[in-house]
Amino acid sequence: MATAATQTHKREAFGSRNVFILSAIGSAVGLGNIWRFPYVAYEGGGGAFLIPYLCALLTAGIPLLFFDYAIGHRYRGSAPLAFRRMHRAAEPLGWWQVLICVVIAVYYAVIIAWAAMYTWFSAQLTWGAGNEDAFFAGDFLQSQDVAEVGVSTQFVPQVGIPLVVVWLIVIVIMALGVKRGIGRANMILMPLLTVMFAILVVQSLFLPGAMDGLDAFFAPNWEALADPGVWASAYGHIFFSLSVAFGIMVTYSSYLKRKTDLTGSGLVVAFANSGFEILAGIGVFAALGFMAQAQGTEVAGVATSGIGLAFVAFPTIVSQATGGSIIGVLFFGALVFAGVTSLISILEVIVAALQDKLGWARVRTTLTVAIPLAIVSMALFSTTTALSVLDTVDAFVNSFGIMAVALVAVIIVAWLLHKLPVLVEHLNRRSSFRVGTLWKVLVGVLAPVVLGYLFISELIAKTSGPYSGYPAWFLAIFGWGLVVALVVLALILSALPWSTRSHAKDDPEYDEFLSEEHYEPDAETSTFPAVDTTKGAGA
């Protein structure tokens, strides 16, 4: 039935549901699980944090995950195409998500490059015991102050060279495609990551002082539950941790076969992600307990997160522990693997979007996307001011990119386009875990309220003074300018016409899917003239 002339390429697909689940877990389990969750939980009441955390997971994380899956699977496209198929005017949402992924990919790669170098340094204890802090900022990054030197162009080879290698590896994975590249990479890296991390946790538990660390991590501080800030941080964390609302899960679920248990798969992904976080919390705090004992302080004095935890505290632990090198190699190796599986999912959002819009083949699109990104990544993050740029871009794109697009997307889809019933219907067609009114309330009411609260509190925090004390011109470019530019560019990209070879205009597979599922034919792609519409096909 399909028109013969333009039947170019089939949409790629994951080999099986399990490959999809593993890839989605690979995307969700990233650096944040390892270096962010343990500290967020510790600060938010330790064991008591479990309550807001589980609430956030069940009432926001999982519902938003289903929301993304439903959009990607129902409209079978990359983020811009899926939103366009939902409603023409919703396309900018997809491009906004794509552009957020562009920004994240550019700096995410360099953290992987650092972790790769630290895997090597751990084996040699290159930093020299007692010198971990000075080594990271000084010897390794050769950090300079942006207020003094501006955005530096001074190349730092020990960062730049591994960064090139990281880009080459991910370009190869991306060029191989969804099944042979992304799927296979996750099938190899995720089991490896799990085993490595499990060994790391067991080894950490045998360090002296480990139990004090676990005590600090799990001892509940019930008063924390009365603090709205703790609840907000639980929702914020779950939201970032699950990689929802910036196109990844929409893109990945568009590669699922037509008849797939979406919600059943989503539950496994969500609980696997949280399961990994609990494991990371145990491993990290056992190690911090050892560090506190070795330095004769309390766990509170050494607990930290993010770059400080990974590149200062952990090297200190590696220096001091017996068998520290093994801990270091496992920890930084795990960061590399968790980072790579997340980076490829971020890049796939961009590659899939351009493939759909231009109708190009996989390799050509991958190279067109990844080479310019690699160059920008090198230009900004293999120089002496990388740390300041990374810190600023990350902070702004998280709050005013990811969080903002999620807020706008749920409001538009739920309240302007009224598409939640359509998504419920689609989820329930195949899924083992049925959703209904409660899901619609959680996505349409609770999610906008929570995201709105988080967004406004971020806005207040970032406007009350210069972020981290950086100069105004610097924040104007890499902070505010960047996040506004993403929205403007998204509108411009939506205005550009779709190629006649693109999937928006010609997608026999999608038409067949719609007809098989008894959905309305798509106005743009429809190749079923038999459907009696009142007016003839538009020009």
Partner: protein
């Protein structure tokens, strides 16, 4: 570790890892339907 910390640790493990196991069991009971999916169209 204090008893309350141990209790919280066990609750955390049981809820999250238990949730994961329950999710996997649920999925295993609903195997993929790919075998029944019609082959992709090959007509030219």
């Amino acid at each position: 570790m204090t008893p309350i910390a141990i209790v919280m640790m066990i609750i955390a493990m049981v809820t999250v890892w238990g949730g994961l196991i329950a999710g996997i069991v649920n999925l295993a009971r609903h195997p993929e339907e790919s075998e029944t999916e019609p082959a992709p169209p090959v007509e030219l």
